[in-house]
Symmetry: C2
Subunit: 244 residues, 2 copies
């Protein structure tokens, strides 16, 4: 019976989740306030240690549910990148597998005072302001935002920020918030609705809003996550961000 070599180094492994959403036309990230050392009192990405017999995705979902108090976390989860194990944590070597969640704006339960408090923070405020994140989480956040930006170009996952049904204007607001640019409503409308395999008209319309009612769309069937199946989540042609 084959066994691992005795002298084998083993590492604690964590998952960290960069959960992004769009609130008030700005990109927001879910952060917790750390209640324990190290970095006690600092803002940090939600996450935690991977348990024995757990997969990476499972661990990410479990941690996210635990720290937000939300049972079924909505949105699209994917692996981002791994960092470490060296020089990330003053307690020693730790490998972390960062994940990216693109989610609609879901409410986070305010946990009691003894638990870690999770809340949405504008990404611009977090990165530019003086709210220094714990560990190497600022770097992870930067990588995650860049990944999200390019995901919007090449995949239909911008829709993951919206609910099940959304208007073209809502989708455009997502693109504008994530890319940090303004987009021409007419050209965006043409490209989004004209892209085969991206959107599907529900036939229904918004009611009660100001202005002309808008048609409600959902992700096209081929772009929707199927159970177990890997989504062929490719936008063709891509919706490129303006390059100046």
């Amino acid at each position: 019976m084959a066994e691992f070599p005795q002298a084998l180094t083993r590492f604690p492994v964590t998952v960290d989740i960069v959960a992004l959403t769009v609130r008030d036309d700005a990109l927001n990230v879910l952060l917790i306030t750390r209640r324990i050392e190290p970095f006690r009192g600092r803002l940090a990405l939600p996450g935690g240690f991977v348990l024995a017999g757990e997969g990476l995705g499972e661990a990410a979902i479990r941690e996210l549910a635990e720290e937000t108090g939300v049972e079924q976390v909505p949105g699209h989860l994917e692996q981002l990148q791994s960092y470490g194990p060296r020089g990330r944590d003053p307690r020693g070597d730790v490998l972390t597998v960062a994940h990216l969640l693109l989610a609609p704006n879901f409410p986070v339960l305010s946990a009691g005072s003894d638990a870690e408090h999770a809340a949405w923070y504008p990404v611009g405020y977090v990165l530019d302001g003086d709210a220094e994140l714990a560990f190497d989480h600022a770097r992870i956040l930067v990588d995650a935002v860049e990944r999200a930006r390019s995901k919007l170009e090449y995949s239909p996952l911008g829709a993951a920020f919206c609910g099940d049904e959304f208007t073209i204007a809502q989708l455009r607001a997502v693109y504008e918030a994530v890319w940090g640019t303004r987009l021409d409503p007419r050209n965006f409308h043409r490209k989004a609705t004209g892209n085969p395999g991206f959107l599907e008209d529900t036939g229904r319309m918004t009611v009660g809003d100001a202005g002309r009612p808008a048609a409600l769309f959902r992700l096209a069937a081929e772009a929707r996550p199927a159970a177990g199946e890997p989504v062929r989540a490719v936008l063709n042609p891509p919706l490129m961000r303006p390059y100046s």
Copy 2:
């Protein structure tokens, strides 16, 4: 002094490297023949355990050097994705951080009979043939090839498969091998040379080959890997593979 919790689960962590190159107009992958259980005798990706105090990239480079007998492995190395820790290895939970190397066709030293033998294998043969890879390495290889394919669209890294200087035709052969399609030489030439920040004319020409001599190019300065700096490796406009 903060310490890790006592009950913390620790995992062995490995790096696996999918080293790709183009040989005889076909995409090839570097594989070793395993000399130990489990999967003794099977083909597998090069890789091995991350040692204490080692970073992920360092470990990947060290393993690659050890298993190929090449001191300075050429090409572009980047992290691919992590897999695990559950259900990958009959010996128990192992997390692996897969890496992708895009390299020119470098010769692999044939190791002695007691060491693991590394060699290039055509990807098509490996995935379609009955050479079943060890562990979950077939899946990792599939992911790596897909990553390489899209890298060629959005980044100048196709040049990583060539040497320092290369002709447009050599670069095109890389694209054709990786994408598995034929490309029109004239249109490819126009797009490659017309892309700002991609190629730089060396002023020199090939000699001795059949046909008209070709101009030699190298990666443009802004696309070349600088020491320590992250390369702004983005191709604008992208060189999209034909979509049928």
